[in-house]
């Protein structure tokens, strides 16, 4: 039984290698896509709300998460203190 597991486990690696070689890329190689241009004026102002939205969302999401975890931690610690008091008394 363990041999079967070992067989599968050792077979997985060569199988994955075979898989990756079989799945030959269908797409042609794309040209390098990022080319920095120094000091060029922004051409589309319409992009700004999206940039602001993207960064703003991340900030808000992280803030909400941190605050909710911190509050949960505060509450949990308070309850622990309460229970420890009950046990101690």
């Amino acid at each position: 039984m363990t041999t079967l597991k070992k067989l599968f486990r050792s077979g997985l690696l060569p199988a994955s290698a075979l898989a990756l070689s079989l799945l030959a890329p269908l797409s042609a190689l794309a040209a390098d896509e990022y080319q920095p241009v120094p000091d060029k004026d922004p051409t589309t102002i319409a992009a700004n709300p999206f940039i602001a939205g993207a960064y703003g969302f991340i900030w808000v999401a992280l803030l909400v998460y941190v605050i909710s975890v911190a509050r949960g931690l505060g509450r949990a610690n308070a309850e622990i203190a309460e229970l420890k008091r009950k046990l101690g008394s």
Partner: protein, 234 residues
């Protein structure tokens, strides 16, 4: 029974963590400035700058999934409760950074490609990965006591999706840029990118520790509640 002094911060984070938090705050205060000063990309214009936050979030989604799977393996095969805690914490972080990735990406795509979404391999597999991690978090929250092992199994299968997500841009013709783009960045862009990546990873560690403390506190609460019950019955 020894009278234990009730210190509210007895389960609080330590000094090293506080230093990491300060570093994080400073880093993230400075990062937007770096991004603004970064050179503007030729074809996409300023909207390309979403890249500096979008890619680290995607990287953290994948990292969190792997850590979750690692913790799940430890729990499933060694019975490690610590592994289970690690899995639960990193699953939440996967959902968090997954949302960030899946929101910033389409916002960027709307300007760069003209569409918010396309069912290409990279986007579809990323969405699937995120959905599975959401399922993990929901199973742990609402699934009851048997959900630990169930969720752990979920994490294993989710981890199998990560290589698919990463390699999808190379295997299929996708609208999403390839991973080979990063080494071709100019020097200044590279600097901003790797600073952002480093800052986000530090943030991940900070959040991991914070959420981990909450998890430990909740576990302690459970044991204490049982102790109190026994104590009152006695």
């Amino acid at each position: 029974m020894a009278n234990q002094a009730a210190t509210p911060s007895s389960r609080g984070p330590g000094a090293v963590w506080m230093a990491a938090v300060v570093l994080c705050i400073l880093g993230f205060a400075y990062l937007p400035q770096m991004v603004v000063q970064a050179p503007i990309e030729r074809t996409m214009g300023p909207v390309q700058k979403i890249f500096y936050y979008h890619v680290p979030c995607a990287w953290l989604l994948m990292l969190s999934t792997f850590v979750c799977a690692g913790g799940s393996i430890a729990y499933l095969f060694k019975g490690s409760m610590r592994g289970d805690r690690v899995a639960r914490v990193s699953a939440e972080l996967a959902v968090l950074f997954g949302i960030c990735t899946l929101v910033t990406g389409p916002l960027w795509g709307r300007v760069a490609w003209g569409v918010y979404w396309q069912w290409d391999a990279r986007l579809t597999s990323s969405l699937l990965l995120w959905l599975v991690m959401v399922a993990y978090v929901m199973a742990r929250r609402f699934g009851g006591p048997a959900s630990r092992k169930l969720a752990a199994a979920l994490a294993l299968f989710a981890a199998a999706d990560v290589p698919l997500v990463y390699l999808s841009v190379h295997i299929w013709r996708t609208i999403h840029p390839k991973t080979t783009v990063v080494p071709t960045l100019g020097k200044e862009m590279m600097g901003v990118f790797f600073t952002s990546l480093g800052m986000f990873t530090l943030l991940w560690v900070v959040l991991f520790v914070l959420r981990g403390h909450l998890e430990k506190a909740r576990d302690e609460l459970d044991t204490l509640a049982l102790d109190v019950e026994d104590h009152l019955e006695a």
